[in-house]
Symmetry: C2
Subunit: 187 residues, 2 copies
Protein backbone atom coordinates (compact mmCIF):
# COMPACT_ATOMS: atom_id res chain seq x y z
CA UNK A 1 0.00 0.00 0.00
CA UNK A 2 1.29 3.47 -0.80
CA UNK A 3 1.99 5.64 2.21
CA UNK A 4 -0.96 7.56 3.62
CA UNK A 5 -0.82 10.21 6.29
CA UNK A 6 -3.57 10.44 8.92
CA UNK A 7 -4.72 14.05 9.17
CA UNK A 8 -7.24 13.56 11.99
CA UNK A 9 -10.87 14.42 11.38
CA UNK A 10 -10.22 17.03 8.69
CA UNK A 11 -12.76 18.13 6.12
CA UNK A 12 -11.03 17.75 2.75
CA UNK A 13 -14.17 17.96 0.60
CA UNK A 14 -12.77 20.81 -1.48
CA UNK A 15 -12.86 22.72 -3.75
CA UNK A 16 -16.39 24.05 -3.55
CA UNK A 17 -18.08 26.73 -5.58
CA UNK A 18 -18.01 30.19 -4.01
CA UNK A 19 -21.34 32.01 -4.10
CA UNK A 20 -22.91 35.20 -2.84
CA UNK A 21 -26.17 34.57 -1.01
CA UNK A 22 -28.71 37.39 -1.10
CA UNK A 23 -31.54 38.06 1.33
CA UNK A 24 -33.61 40.94 2.66
CA UNK A 25 -32.58 41.53 6.27
CA UNK A 26 -34.50 44.09 8.33
CA UNK A 27 -35.96 45.49 5.12
CA UNK A 28 -32.63 45.89 3.30
CA UNK A 29 -30.84 43.70 0.75
CA UNK A 30 -27.73 42.00 2.09
CA UNK A 31 -25.17 39.62 0.60
CA UNK A 32 -22.82 37.12 2.20
CA UNK A 33 -20.12 34.88 0.76
CA UNK A 34 -20.80 31.17 1.18
CA UNK A 35 -18.74 28.19 0.05
CA UNK A 36 -20.21 25.55 2.33
CA UNK A 37 -22.97 24.65 -0.04
CA UNK A 38 -24.43 21.50 -1.51
CA UNK A 39 -26.81 19.83 -3.89
CA UNK A 40 -29.53 17.96 -2.00
CA UNK A 41 -31.63 16.43 -4.72
CA UNK A 42 -32.07 16.34 -8.47
CA UNK A 43 -35.42 18.04 -7.79
CA UNK A 44 -33.62 21.42 -7.87
CA UNK A 45 -32.97 21.43 -4.13
CA UNK A 46 -29.74 23.02 -2.95
CA UNK A 47 -28.29 23.81 0.46
CA UNK A 48 -26.36 26.70 1.96
CA UNK A 49 -24.69 26.41 5.35
CA UNK A 50 -24.36 29.59 7.36
CA UNK A 51 -22.83 30.12 10.76
CA UNK A 52 -25.52 30.67 13.41
CA UNK A 53 -24.14 34.14 14.08
CA UNK A 54 -24.53 35.27 10.47
CA UNK A 55 -26.70 38.38 9.89
CA UNK A 56 -28.23 36.90 6.71
CA UNK A 57 -29.96 34.04 8.56
CA UNK A 58 -32.53 36.44 10.03
CA UNK A 59 -33.72 37.43 6.58
CA UNK A 60 -33.81 33.90 5.20
CA UNK A 61 -35.94 32.78 8.15
CA UNK A 62 -38.25 35.80 8.00
CA UNK A 63 -38.97 35.77 4.27
CA UNK A 64 -38.33 32.09 3.48
CA UNK A 65 -36.45 33.09 0.35
CA UNK A 66 -32.86 33.69 -0.69
CA UNK A 67 -30.83 34.13 -3.85
CA UNK A 68 -27.69 32.42 -5.09
CA UNK A 69 -25.33 34.55 -7.17
CA UNK A 70 -22.30 33.00 -8.84
CA UNK A 71 -19.50 35.54 -9.11
CA UNK A 72 -16.83 35.46 -11.80
CA UNK A 73 -13.05 35.65 -11.29
CA UNK A 74 -13.00 39.41 -11.92
CA UNK A 75 -15.22 39.82 -8.83
CA UNK A 76 -12.89 37.99 -6.45
CA UNK A 77 -12.23 41.10 -4.32
CA UNK A 78 -15.92 41.92 -3.85
CA UNK A 79 -16.62 38.24 -3.19
CA UNK A 80 -13.97 37.97 -0.51
CA UNK A 81 -15.03 41.29 1.02
CA UNK A 82 -18.62 40.05 1.47
CA UNK A 83 -17.24 37.19 3.55
CA UNK A 84 -15.10 39.46 5.74
CA UNK A 85 -17.50 42.22 6.79
CA UNK A 86 -20.96 41.85 8.35
CA UNK A 87 -24.20 43.33 7.07
CA UNK A 88 -24.78 44.45 10.65
CA UNK A 89 -22.29 47.25 10.15
CA UNK A 90 -21.71 47.58 6.38
CA UNK A 91 -24.15 48.08 3.50
CA UNK A 92 -22.70 45.43 1.20
CA UNK A 93 -25.56 45.81 -1.29
CA UNK A 94 -24.07 49.19 -2.25
CA UNK A 95 -21.27 47.32 -4.05
CA UNK A 96 -23.63 45.88 -6.66
CA UNK A 97 -26.48 46.62 -9.06
CA UNK A 98 -29.48 44.64 -7.82
CA UNK A 99 -32.48 43.12 -9.60
CA UNK A 100 -35.46 41.05 -8.55
CA UNK A 101 -37.23 38.20 -10.31
CA UNK A 102 -40.47 36.49 -9.40
CA UNK A 103 -39.84 36.61 -5.64
CA UNK A 104 -39.95 39.98 -3.88
CA UNK A 105 -37.40 39.10 -1.23
CA UNK A 106 -34.54 37.47 -3.14
CA UNK A 107 -32.24 40.29 -4.27
CA UNK A 108 -29.88 39.28 -7.09
CA UNK A 109 -26.62 40.77 -8.32
CA UNK A 110 -26.61 42.00 -11.93
CA UNK A 111 -22.81 41.73 -12.23
CA UNK A 112 -22.78 37.98 -11.39
CA UNK A 113 -23.14 35.88 -14.54
CA UNK A 114 -25.55 33.40 -12.91
CA UNK A 115 -28.34 34.00 -10.42
CA UNK A 116 -30.89 31.65 -8.90
CA UNK A 117 -33.86 32.68 -6.80
CA UNK A 118 -34.84 30.12 -4.19
CA UNK A 119 -37.75 29.39 -1.90
CA UNK A 120 -36.82 27.96 1.49
CA UNK A 121 -38.26 24.46 1.85
CA UNK A 122 -36.41 23.11 4.87
CA UNK A 123 -34.05 24.23 7.62
CA UNK A 124 -31.66 21.72 9.15
CA UNK A 125 -30.02 22.92 12.33
CA UNK A 126 -26.65 21.90 13.70
CA UNK A 127 -25.00 23.31 16.84
CA UNK A 128 -22.92 25.87 14.93
CA UNK A 129 -24.69 26.10 11.56
CA UNK A 130 -28.08 26.70 10.00
CA UNK A 131 -28.46 24.75 6.77
CA UNK A 132 -31.12 26.26 4.53
CA UNK A 133 -32.47 24.02 1.79
CA UNK A 134 -33.89 26.00 -1.10
CA UNK A 135 -35.88 25.04 -4.15
CA UNK A 136 -34.73 26.87 -7.23
CA UNK A 137 -37.62 28.91 -8.66
CA UNK A 138 -35.91 30.64 -11.58
CA UNK A 139 -32.37 30.80 -12.96
CA UNK A 140 -30.83 33.74 -14.81
CA UNK A 141 -27.70 33.70 -16.94
CA UNK A 142 -25.83 36.43 -18.78
CA UNK A 143 -26.29 36.07 -22.52
CA UNK A 144 -22.51 36.02 -22.99
CA UNK A 145 -22.09 33.10 -20.55
CA UNK A 146 -24.29 30.80 -22.63
CA UNK A 147 -23.32 28.28 -25.29
CA UNK A 148 -26.04 26.51 -27.28
CA UNK A 149 -28.61 27.79 -24.76
CA UNK A 150 -26.87 26.29 -21.71
CA UNK A 151 -24.44 27.62 -19.12
CA UNK A 152 -20.79 27.49 -20.28
CA UNK A 153 -18.49 27.39 -17.25
CA UNK A 154 -15.51 28.39 -19.39
CA UNK A 155 -17.31 31.72 -19.91
CA UNK A 156 -18.63 31.99 -16.34
CA UNK A 157 -15.13 31.61 -14.82
CA UNK A 158 -16.44 30.69 -11.35
CA UNK A 159 -14.40 31.14 -8.17
CA UNK A 160 -13.61 27.90 -6.33
CA UNK A 161 -12.90 27.80 -2.61
CA UNK A 162 -10.34 25.60 -0.88
CA UNK A 163 -10.08 25.53 2.89
CA UNK A 164 -6.86 23.46 2.75
CA UNK A 165 -4.88 26.34 1.30
CA UNK A 166 -7.30 29.10 2.37
CA UNK A 167 -7.32 30.19 -1.26
CA UNK A 168 -9.62 30.76 -4.17
CA UNK A 169 -8.86 28.77 -7.32
CA UNK A 170 -9.81 29.02 -10.99
CA UNK A 171 -11.56 26.36 -12.98
CA UNK A 172 -9.27 24.51 -15.41
CA UNK A 173 -9.98 22.77 -18.70
CA UNK A 174 -12.68 20.31 -19.69
CA UNK A 175 -11.37 16.82 -18.93
CA UNK A 176 -13.81 14.21 -20.25
CA UNK A 177 -17.49 13.56 -20.96
CA UNK A 178 -19.64 12.16 -18.13
CA UNK A 179 -21.45 8.83 -18.44
CA UNK A 180 -19.28 8.04 -21.47
CA UNK A 181 -15.53 7.94 -20.78
CA UNK A 182 -16.09 5.11 -18.29
CA UNK A 183 -17.76 2.92 -20.89
CA UNK A 184 -14.22 1.98 -22.03
CA UNK A 185 -14.09 -0.25 -18.95
CA UNK A 186 -17.28 -2.13 -19.72
CA UNK A 187 -16.84 -5.68 -20.92
Amino acid sequence: MKPKRELGATNALYPTLTILVGAIVNGKPNFVTVAHIGIMSIENLISISLSKICHTNLGVRENATFSVNIPTEAQVKETDYCGIVSGKSVDKAALFKIFYGTLDTAPMIVECPINMECRLVKTVEFPKSDVFVGEIVQTYCDENALEHGGVDLAKVRPILFDMNSRSYWSLGEKLAPCWRIGRDLEE
Copy 2:
Protein backbone atom coordinates in the same frame (compact mmCIF):
# COMPACT_ATOMS: atom_id res chain seq x y z
CA MET B 1 -28.92 46.23 -16.96
CA LYS B 2 -26.93 43.72 -18.98
CA PRO B 3 -29.04 41.13 -20.77
CA LYS B 4 -29.96 38.03 -18.75
CA ARG B 5 -31.62 34.92 -20.09
CA GLU B 6 -34.22 33.06 -18.00
CA LEU B 7 -33.38 29.36 -17.99
CA GLY B 8 -36.37 28.18 -15.94
CA ALA B 9 -35.76 26.43 -12.65
CA THR B 10 -32.33 25.04 -13.56
CA ASN B 11 -29.71 23.95 -11.06
CA ALA B 12 -26.55 25.82 -12.03
CA LEU B 13 -24.65 25.23 -8.76
CA TYR B 14 -21.67 23.70 -10.56
CA PRO B 15 -18.91 22.62 -10.65
CA THR B 16 -18.92 20.21 -7.73
CA LEU B 17 -16.23 17.82 -6.56
CA THR B 18 -16.59 14.27 -7.89
CA ILE B 19 -16.15 11.59 -5.23
CA LEU B 20 -16.41 7.83 -4.87
CA VAL B 21 -18.56 6.82 -1.92
CA GLY B 22 -17.74 3.48 -0.32
CA ALA B 23 -20.02 1.26 1.76
CA ILE B 24 -20.46 -2.37 2.66
CA VAL B 25 -23.61 -3.62 0.93
CA ASN B 26 -24.84 -7.11 1.67
CA GLY B 27 -21.46 -7.93 3.19
CA LYS B 28 -19.39 -6.70 0.23
CA PRO B 29 -17.58 -3.42 -0.42
CA ASN B 30 -19.18 -1.26 -3.08
CA PHE B 31 -18.37 2.13 -4.58
CA VAL B 32 -20.54 4.68 -6.35
CA THR B 33 -19.73 7.99 -8.00
CA VAL B 34 -21.37 10.99 -6.38
CA ALA B 35 -21.13 14.67 -7.29
CA HIS B 36 -24.24 15.94 -5.54
CA ILE B 37 -22.48 16.53 -2.27
CA GLY B 38 -22.21 19.31 0.25
CA ILE B 39 -20.66 20.73 3.37
CA MET B 40 -23.23 21.01 6.15
CA SER B 41 -21.30 22.47 9.03
CA ILE B 42 -17.83 23.49 10.10
CA GLU B 43 -18.15 20.68 12.65
CA ASN B 44 -16.85 18.25 10.00
CA LEU B 45 -20.33 17.38 8.76
CA ILE B 46 -20.71 16.65 5.06
CA SER B 47 -23.59 15.42 2.90
CA ILE B 48 -23.93 13.02 0.01
CA SER B 49 -27.11 12.84 -2.04
CA LEU B 50 -27.94 9.50 -3.60
CA SER B 51 -30.88 8.55 -5.76
CA LYS B 52 -33.40 6.43 -3.83
CA ILE B 53 -32.80 3.55 -6.23
CA CYS B 54 -29.06 3.45 -5.56
CA HIS B 55 -27.65 0.10 -4.32
CA THR B 56 -25.23 1.84 -1.93
CA ASN B 57 -28.02 3.34 0.23
CA LEU B 58 -28.80 -0.07 1.71
CA GLY B 59 -25.30 -0.37 3.13
CA VAL B 60 -25.15 3.18 4.46
CA ARG B 61 -28.45 2.66 6.29
CA GLU B 62 -27.48 -0.78 7.62
CA ASN B 63 -24.02 0.10 8.94
CA ALA B 64 -24.44 3.85 9.53
CA THR B 65 -21.01 4.45 7.98
CA PHE B 66 -19.60 5.36 4.58
CA SER B 67 -16.34 6.54 3.07
CA VAL B 68 -15.52 9.45 0.80
CA ASN B 69 -12.70 8.88 -1.68
CA ILE B 70 -11.43 11.74 -3.83
CA PRO B 71 -10.15 10.42 -7.15
CA THR B 72 -7.45 12.13 -9.20
CA GLU B 73 -7.63 13.04 -12.91
CA ALA B 74 -5.81 9.85 -13.92
CA GLN B 75 -8.75 7.88 -12.46
CA VAL B 76 -11.42 9.59 -14.53
CA LYS B 77 -12.37 6.40 -16.39
CA GLU B 78 -12.81 4.34 -13.22
CA THR B 79 -14.66 7.23 -11.61
CA ASP B 80 -17.10 7.57 -14.49
CA TYR B 81 -17.54 3.78 -14.69
CA CYS B 82 -18.61 3.62 -11.02
CA GLY B 83 -21.42 6.03 -11.86
CA ILE B 84 -22.60 4.05 -14.89
CA VAL B 85 -22.85 0.47 -13.58
CA SER B 86 -24.68 -0.74 -10.48
CA GLY B 87 -23.22 -2.75 -7.62
CA LYS B 88 -26.27 -4.97 -8.00
CA SER B 89 -24.71 -6.56 -11.07
CA VAL B 90 -21.01 -5.59 -11.08
CA ASP B 91 -18.28 -5.99 -8.43
CA LYS B 92 -16.88 -2.48 -8.65
CA ALA B 93 -14.62 -3.03 -5.66
CA ALA B 94 -12.50 -5.33 -7.88
CA LEU B 95 -11.23 -2.21 -9.67
CA PHE B 96 -9.40 -0.95 -6.60
CA LYS B 97 -7.10 -1.83 -3.73
CA ILE B 98 -9.09 -1.38 -0.54
CA PHE B 99 -8.12 -0.46 3.00
CA TYR B 100 -9.98 0.13 6.25
CA GLY B 101 -9.37 2.63 9.02
CA THR B 102 -11.00 2.88 12.41
CA LEU B 103 -14.46 1.89 11.16
CA ASP B 104 -15.04 -1.68 10.01
CA THR B 105 -17.65 -0.83 7.43
CA ALA B 106 -16.19 2.12 5.51
CA PRO B 107 -14.04 0.63 2.72
CA MET B 108 -11.56 3.11 1.24
CA ILE B 109 -9.69 3.19 -2.05
CA VAL B 110 -5.88 3.11 -1.82
CA GLU B 111 -5.43 4.67 -5.27
CA CYS B 112 -7.42 7.80 -4.37
CA PRO B 113 -5.16 10.50 -2.91
CA ILE B 114 -7.66 11.50 -0.20
CA ASN B 115 -10.01 9.33 1.86
CA MET B 116 -12.38 10.19 4.67
CA GLU B 117 -14.24 7.71 6.83
CA CYS B 118 -17.59 8.94 8.04
CA ARG B 119 -20.19 8.01 10.62
CA LEU B 120 -23.80 8.62 9.58
CA VAL B 121 -25.35 11.21 11.89
CA LYS B 122 -28.53 12.16 10.02
CA THR B 123 -30.59 11.13 7.03
CA VAL B 124 -32.69 13.73 5.23
CA GLU B 125 -35.18 12.26 2.81
CA PHE B 126 -36.58 13.89 -0.30
CA PRO B 127 -38.98 12.26 -2.78
CA LYS B 128 -36.21 11.15 -5.16
CA SER B 129 -33.07 11.33 -2.99
CA ASP B 130 -31.63 10.15 0.29
CA VAL B 131 -29.25 12.70 1.75
CA PHE B 132 -26.82 11.13 4.20
CA VAL B 133 -25.05 13.50 6.56
CA GLY B 134 -21.77 12.08 7.81
CA GLU B 135 -19.37 13.17 10.48
CA ILE B 136 -15.76 12.78 9.38
CA VAL B 137 -13.97 10.41 11.76
CA GLN B 138 -10.53 10.25 10.13
CA THR B 139 -8.93 11.64 6.99
CA TYR B 140 -6.12 10.01 5.00
CA CYS B 141 -3.92 11.67 2.42
CA ASP B 142 -1.17 10.34 0.17
CA GLU B 143 2.21 11.58 1.32
CA ASN B 144 2.90 12.98 -2.14
CA ALA B 145 -0.32 15.06 -2.11
CA LEU B 146 0.75 17.01 0.96
CA GLU B 147 2.52 20.35 1.22
CA HIS B 148 3.62 21.67 4.62
CA GLY B 149 1.48 18.96 6.25
CA GLY B 150 -1.76 19.98 4.53
CA VAL B 151 -3.60 18.82 1.43
CA ASP B 152 -2.31 20.46 -1.77
CA LEU B 153 -5.05 20.43 -4.42
CA ALA B 154 -2.50 21.11 -7.16
CA LYS B 155 -1.06 17.68 -6.34
CA VAL B 156 -4.42 15.98 -5.75
CA ARG B 157 -5.73 17.03 -9.20
CA PRO B 158 -9.40 16.43 -8.29
CA ILE B 159 -12.13 15.78 -10.86
CA LEU B 160 -14.86 18.43 -10.98
CA PHE B 161 -18.35 17.68 -12.25
CA ASP B 162 -20.52 20.01 -14.32
CA MET B 163 -24.09 19.06 -15.18
CA ASN B 164 -24.40 22.02 -17.58
CA SER B 165 -21.95 20.47 -20.04
CA ARG B 166 -22.25 16.89 -18.73
CA SER B 167 -18.48 16.95 -18.42
CA TYR B 168 -15.69 16.53 -15.93
CA TRP B 169 -13.32 19.46 -15.55
CA SER B 170 -9.84 19.98 -14.12
CA LEU B 171 -8.94 22.40 -11.38
CA GLY B 172 -7.08 25.49 -12.60
CA GLU B 173 -4.61 27.77 -10.89
CA LYS B 174 -4.65 29.40 -7.49
CA LEU B 175 -6.40 32.75 -7.84
CA ALA B 176 -6.16 34.68 -4.57
CA PRO B 177 -5.94 34.30 -0.80
CA CYS B 178 -9.22 34.05 1.16
CA TRP B 179 -10.12 36.56 3.89
CA ARG B 180 -7.37 38.83 2.57
CA ILE B 181 -7.79 39.93 -1.06
CA GLY B 182 -11.11 41.58 -0.13
CA ARG B 183 -9.47 43.78 2.50
CA ASP B 184 -8.47 46.10 -0.37
CA LEU B 185 -12.09 47.26 -0.36
CA GLU B 186 -12.20 48.13 3.31
CA GLU B 187 -12.18 51.81 4.12
